[in-house]
């Protein structure tokens, strides 16, 4: 009985000495909070300006943001 208790005590006392599971390089992953997607929001001031994309629809958001990006192209902007 005494031997058994000693073995259990020894096992408990060294339990915290184990190594953490190591993660191979390249397989590490983000440990923080999840983030939401920009297309899961209502377009800004939709009630005044009209919805430019549909909430939750990534394709429509991308179409809208691409149109905005093209305004940086002054040659095309002038031609419009």
């Amino acid at each position: 009985m005494k031997t058994l208790l000693l073995v259990v005590a020894a096992a408990v006392s060294i339990a915290a000495c184990g190594n953490r599971e190591e993660i191979a390089e390249g397989k590490r992953s983000y440990q923080g909070k999840p983030d939401s997607q920009p297309w899961n929001n209502e377009p800004l001031a939709a009630e005044y300006r009209g919805g430019k994309w549909t909430k939750g629809d990534r394709a429509s958001w991308e179409t809208d943001i691409k149109a905005r990006q093209l305004t940086q192209h002054e040659y095309k902007r002038i031609d419009q």
Binding site: R28, S29, Y30, Q31, G32, K33, P34, D35, S36, Q37, P38, N40, N41, P43, L44, K52, W53, R58, W61, E62, D64, I65, K66, R68, Q69, L70, Q72, H73, E74, Y75
Partner: protein, 211 residues
């Protein structure tokens, strides 16, 4: 699928610091932290001196993500590299790894104690509820969720700084290079996004002849 990138046209940047000011104002960036700054390249070399606007480039294979000991970095579906400030321990490894010097650390106490890392978010906020006060306080404005582009790029008066989907802004830049016939080098793109495919060769300019 959009893959957000920045591109700075050194032929056009006039070092007005409008992008720096726009970023500071839009995101209410604290004193001592500069998410974006304008630097001079080829300083002192007559004829080759240019200015460019530099911030986090949201690299394809971001070294900051690789070295972070607490894995607080993530990449959004649009390719924007963001981080969770609740997890950041302010160790500064990302600063040493970043080839652009993008990570910034506000002073958090005496003896130069570093606070949590702060950097450009491509005006995409962070891991908090979109457009919430918490998101704004920690990460700044989330313009992408409003259907807008980063304030720095939209504010640029000469359109030297372009922000948006890599394909779209590369097309804009290609058009410019072909029209003006020079300045096809894009500073930092190879470092941030890999070598990729070479762009078109601009038409050769005829050297001016003295008559």
């Amino acid at each position: 699928m959009a893959r957000m990138k920045f591109l700075c046209d050194a032929e056009r940047c006039i070092e007005c610091n409008g992008c720096v000011t726009a970023c500071k104002q839009e995101n209410e960036v604290p004193w001592g932290v500069n998410r974006r700054r304008v630097v001079t390249i080829n300083d002192g070399i007559v004829g080759a001196e240019k200015s460019i606007s530099v911030a986090c480039m949201h690299c394809s294979d971001a070294p900051c993500m690789a070295v972070c000991p607490v894995d607080c970095f993530y990449r959004t579906d649009d390719g924007v590299v963001l981080h969770d400030k609740d997890l950041c321990i302010g160790c500064g490894y990302c600063f040493y790894a970043c080839p652009f010097g993008a990570p910034q650390f506000p002073q958090a106490g005496a003896f130069g104690l570093r606070g949590k890392m702060d950097k450009c978010t491509f005006c995409a906020g962070g891991p908090e509820k979109d457009q919430s006060e918490a998101e704004f306080k920690k990460y700044g404005r989330n313009r992408l969720s409003e259907g807008k582009l980063p304030a720095c790029a939209e504010m640029c008066s000469t359109k030297a700084l372009l922000g948006g989907d890599g394909d779209v802004i590369a097309d804009i830049y290609r058009d410019r290079v072909v029209r003006r016939g020079k300045g096809s080098e894009v500073w930092g793109w190879g470092t941030a996004y890999g070598p990729g495919k070479p762009g078109p060769t601009p038409p050769q300019q005829q050297p001016a002849r003295k008559s």
